[in-house]
Symmetry: C2
Subunit: 180 residues, 2 copies
């Protein structure tokens, strides 16, 4: 994993990939699959929708920290598996053969197998809407990883895989933030 | 355009496509390109991040209505063009050759050229975070449209086009809402 400038971290989230969010409660790590996410600022600030229906929510609320890990298409069955069992009775790192990696800032673990990881602090919770507002405080990416295509949950049990990339940097130059 | 069940409308947004959001202020229509969006519920409820930096924001706040239109890859230069000019001095429907279509419920226009349109009412604004919470009240899709691949903004001036679709309906059956 190579450190990634925080000013670029939002570009991991803006395309809307399904992500894995890790938490730590005392020494117990957990992971949830989250597709309801949003970039809110370049700084970077993100929103996720979660609540008591996720076992991880208690740890997130208590520790006010988490890691957003970005999985790729080769991890599809892990992503679905994590989203369809509960941390209440499952050690998801062990069950899915994932490697918890110590972060730079937060106590929640990075996922070694993912393309990228963003360490986050909870900066607000909008309880009325089940929105948790996160600020990225460190980010890293695995430049050696061959598979870089992420997954987009459709919500009906199907997923769209990243296809080709098109470049409109020149047309958009006036609207892009510095450092991206 | 064919009406789409509201229980399926969130599946248009959950993969994270860049969208066009239309508003109407008195009889003046406008369009903004928005990539910072999130599904919040199946009902469907969506969040978008916008504020006074978008000319459309005043109309959105005043009318408390908008339409989320889903463009496809053949509309890339329209999406970028709409995002890099302002409704303050531009009639975007005219400039980009788009057809405003009357909706079933809201005053803001659908975009005839888009794959799908979701008519929305503003149900809350979380001013502190520039979040506008929208409830979909009608949705339609163009089943005759050949190009169905949507675009995902990376945020650095590049876009990822939808690739292949993979099916995990069976694995996820226990977690899917009814009617999807």
């Amino acid at each position: 994993m190579r450190q990634l400038k925080l000013s670029k971290a939002f570009t991991l989230m803006e395309p809307g990939p399904v992500v894995l969010v890790t938490t730590r409660d005392r020494n117990k790590d957990n992971i949830m699959t989250i597709s309801w996410t949003m970039v809110m600022d370049f700084t970077p600030v993100f929103a996720i929708v979660t609540g008591a229906w996720n076992h991880s929510f208690a740890a997130l609320r208590k520790s006010r920290e988490c890691v957003i890990a970005i999985p790729t298409v080769d991890m599809l069955d892990t992503v679905v598996g994590i989203g369809t069992c509960s941390g209440a009775d499952t050690d998801k790192f062990a069950r899915f053969g994932l490697t918890p990696v110590r972060g730079k800032v937060v106590g929640a673990p990075l996922i070694g197998e993912c393309l990228a990881n963003i360490e986050c602090k909870v900066i607000d919770m909008v309880a009325k809407h089940n929105i948790v507002v996160l600020e990225g405080v460190a980010a890293c990416i695995d430049p050696a990883r061959k598979e870089k295509r992420t997954l987009h949950a459709v919500g009906d049990g199907t997923f769209v895989v990243d296809g080709r990339k098109v470049d409109r940097r020149k047309m958009m130059a006036s609207r892009l933030p510095d450092g991206v």
